[in-house]
């Protein structure tokens, strides 16, 4: 877990949460961006090379690759600066998003379950996500890109805290 000074809070309705995610998350986002680019570009490439597709398809192919590379180069850094999280005795608080920012607050007393999950890429990088669910279908708060060990510890703490709270949290 890494704690850095919150940056640039001017004009925001809420202060940024205290903690940043693991720096390896940047690599995770970058790899995901590249993987998406590959998935979108390869079919186009196949059509162009094998079937000799129309000229405009070459254009879209180049555009896809350029957009993917630019995304992978620029966006993960931005995401890393934006994504933050914080857990106090009273609430879980996250900030995520890239173009549209999203702040989520879930009071601890309303938390129902705490899950950790590791996708294949996350496992490879030693990362994990923690999802905190409330009784609402729209309520889950997910902290992505935590170091796996930190995530496990966090989930354990959260589970303990929420078990102490009474009621069925609806």
């Amino acid at each position: 877990m890494q704690t850095a000074q919150p940056s640039g809070s001017v004009g925001l309705p809420l202060r940024p949460p205290a903690h940043q995610v693991d720096p390896r998350a940047t690599t995770w986002w970058r790899l995901r961006g590249l993987a998406t680019t590959v998935v979108v570009a390869v079919p186009q490439l196949v059509v162009v090379l094998i079937l000799g597709g129309p000229a405009w398809l070459v254009g879209t192919l180049v555009a896809t690759v350029v957009a993917g590379l630019v995304y992978a180069a620029v966006v993960p850094g931005v995401l890393f600066r934006i994504h933050r999280w914080e857990i106090t005795d009273e609430a879980v608080y996250t900030l995520s998003g890239w173009i549209v920012r999203e702040w989520r607050i879930a009071p601890i007393s309303r938390v129902q379950t705490v899950d950790t999950e590791h996708g294949p890429l996350q496992q490879f990088l030693g990362l994990a996500s923690v999802t905190v669910t409330t009784a609402s279908a729209r309520g889950p708060v997910t902290i992505r890109g935590l170091a796996a060990a930190d995530a496990a510890e966090l989930a354990r703490q959260l589970t303990e805290t929420t078990q102490a709270a009474a009621g069925d949290a609806t």
Binding site: S9, V10, G11, L12, P13, L14, R15, P17, E86, T88, E90, A91, Y93, G97, I99, V100, R101, E102, W103, R104, I105, A106, P107, I108, R110, T134, A135, S136, A137, R138, G139, V141, D168, A169, T170
Partner: protein, 521 residues
């Protein structure tokens, strides 16, 4: 607390016995299916003109259905233990479903026509939002006797372990909150769901015609009328079809309204549940535990709003998003809709405070929370609504002009300009609707133009917040605040509220937010 006493008593007894569905289902189940298969059977028999193989096929289908009904009855068992409701079913594909009783939120009794003849009810139990699909879709007992259904309804809702026993002695008689007023029938043609129903009626009619191999053109008179229309000017044909559709819509929606809302009654039962009775052919009764009621929503779709009508739904945990989910009433005059909303909320409200019931009730009914004067949103919200409405329309207009210049008929360019004034009006209207308020017990918010919705949410019903801000919103200092709740849609948005107001509002409802508010801006 009587719970522990009850629990001890239950432990003392042996396991709750498994029960079968009502034996009358041996008749009603297959009969219902046969009615549904009737067109098919008729076609098989009629087209064969009585040759033996086709009669045998029809007889075979009938036999299979009857056997299926018997097997279904033999293999379906249910029981209610102190902790769970369990349902076993299926011979080949065995299913075991169970719902914890403390998660039960609503109990629905439905009696389709055939069930009514045999005095049977389908009991559907809805549980709180949960991961398992079985619990989300509800657990259905199809069917038990009407008396057993009523008994189950009371047992499941009243003795739901999470619901504390009411302190005051319960009144013996259910309290009538609202009844049917047939003047409300005038709102029937103004509801979109009714229009959709007309579409369904048309489709069904057309299907039936094609199944029976009847060409509408063979019906005497139709062909003649079609020819005359085709010979006349275009506007006559368009007008005739329009009038025909309109008449169909009015007749169909009125018929649907009557079927749905015949015998409508909204009552508060002595056991603390809100109960909606309705239905002409299919009798329905929805029971919402008041412990689970988190608020109400007053919706005014554009047409209904034009007719000064509205509709109120209950926001309860466990009520799904299916149509008619928590409908507390048919479309009614606006004032009546707000009154019902207030009446539905009153008891939960008075229990939460120590003020005398009568005082609270009077105050609440005089000024329903859904009619609380709302705080308007900043002017930039108007600009954003107008940009949205006019921007998207401008794109359409541009496309129309391009089409007019290149391929399409020349008139669509100028014609498309006619879209702009309604778009502007809609934008203005959407802004006028925006607003929020915080009363001592409720968070009230309103939004929407085509479908205006006023949501009244209990403060205690808010279980989290989501704040969203797009770059455009960031420039002008507004956000979209969403109150997260376990009931209804799961979250209700307050659109384009000033950012400081949003944080202050969230803070006032759930003090946990305070720690995260920006200290200086």
């Amino acid at each position: 607390m009587t719970l522990s006493a009850a629990a001890t008593a239950e432990v003392g007894r042996h396991e709750a016995p498994w029960r079968r569905l009502d034996p009358r289902m041996l008749v009603v189940g297959p009969a219902g299916q046969l009615v549904r298969l009737l067109p098919l059977l008729l076609i098989v028999v009629v087209t064969g003109q009585g040759d033996t193989p086709r009669l045998l096929i029809a007889a075979g289908i009938t036999a299979l259905v009857v056997i299926g009904g018997v097997v279904r009855w033999r293999t379906t068992r249910y029981r209610i233990t102190p902790e769970r409701v369990e349902l076993h079913s299926g011979l080949v594909r065995r299913q075991h479903r169970s719902v914890p009783r403390d998660r039960i939120r609503t109990v629905d009794l439905t009696s389709p026509l055939l069930h009514r003849v045999f005095r049977l009810s389908v009991v559907t139990v809805h549980a709180a939002d949960s991961a398992s699909a079985a619990e989300r879709n509800g657990l259905g007992l199809d069917a038990v006797s009407a008396a057993e259904g009523e008994r189950l309804r009371q047992e499941l809702l009243e003795r739901s372990p999470a619901a504390p026993v009411p302190d005051e002695p319960a009144a013996a008689e259910p309290e009538l909150l609202a009844g049917m007023n047939w003047a409300w029938l005038r709102f029937a043609p103004l509801t979109f769901s009714s229009l959709a129903g007309v579409g369904a009626v048309l489709a069904a009619g057309f299907n039936l015609l094609s199944e029976l191999r009847v060409d509408p053109r063979d019906v005497p008179g139709v062909d003649d009328a079609a020819e005359r229309l085709a010979d006349g000017p275009v506007w006559v044909a368009v007008g005739a079809v329009g009038v025909l559709l309109l008449v169909l819509a009015v007749v169909g929606s009125t018929a649907l309204f009557i079927e749905r809302w015949w015998g409508y009654r909204l009552t508060r039962e002595p056991d603390g549940t809100l109960r909606v009775h309705r239905g002409l052919l299919t009798r329905r009764s929805l029971s919402v535990s008041e412990q689970r009621l988190r608020g109400v929503e007053v919706t005014e779709p554009l047409l209904l709003r034009a007719g000064r009508g509205a509709r109120t739904t209950a926001l309860s945990t466990g009520l799904g998003k299916e149509s008619q989910g928590g409908a507390l009433q048919p479309p009614t005059p606006r004032a009546e809709a707000h009154r019902i909303g207030a009446a539905a909320l009153t008891p939960t409200f008075s229990k939460a405070t120590f003020l005398p019931d009568s005082y609270m009730n009077v105050a609440l009914l005089k000024s329903p929370p859904s009619l609380t004067p709302l705080t308007r949103h900043p002017r930039v919200a108007l600009r954003r609504r107008m940009t949205r409405a006019l921007g998207s329309t401008a794109v359409l207009v541009a496309v129309a002009w391009v089409l007019a210049e290149t391929t399409g008929p020349g008139w669509i360019g100028p014609f498309s300009l006619a879209l702009l004034p309604p778009a502007a009006l809609l934008g203005w209207d959407r802004y006028r609707g925006l607003g929020h308020a915080l009363t001592p017990h409720y968070l009230v918010s309103r939004l929407g133009g085509l479908n205006r919705r006023t949501v009244v949410l209990q403060r205690q019903g808010v279980i989290g917040w989501t704040v969203r801000q797009s770059p455009f919103q960031r420039q002008v200092g507004v956000v979209t605040l969403e109150a997260v709740t376990a009931a209804g849609d799961g979250g209700y948005r307050i659109l384009d509220i000033g950012d400081a107001d949003a944080v202050a509002l969230a803070d006032a409802v759930t003090p946990e937010v305070r720690a995260f508010a920006a200290r200086e801006r």
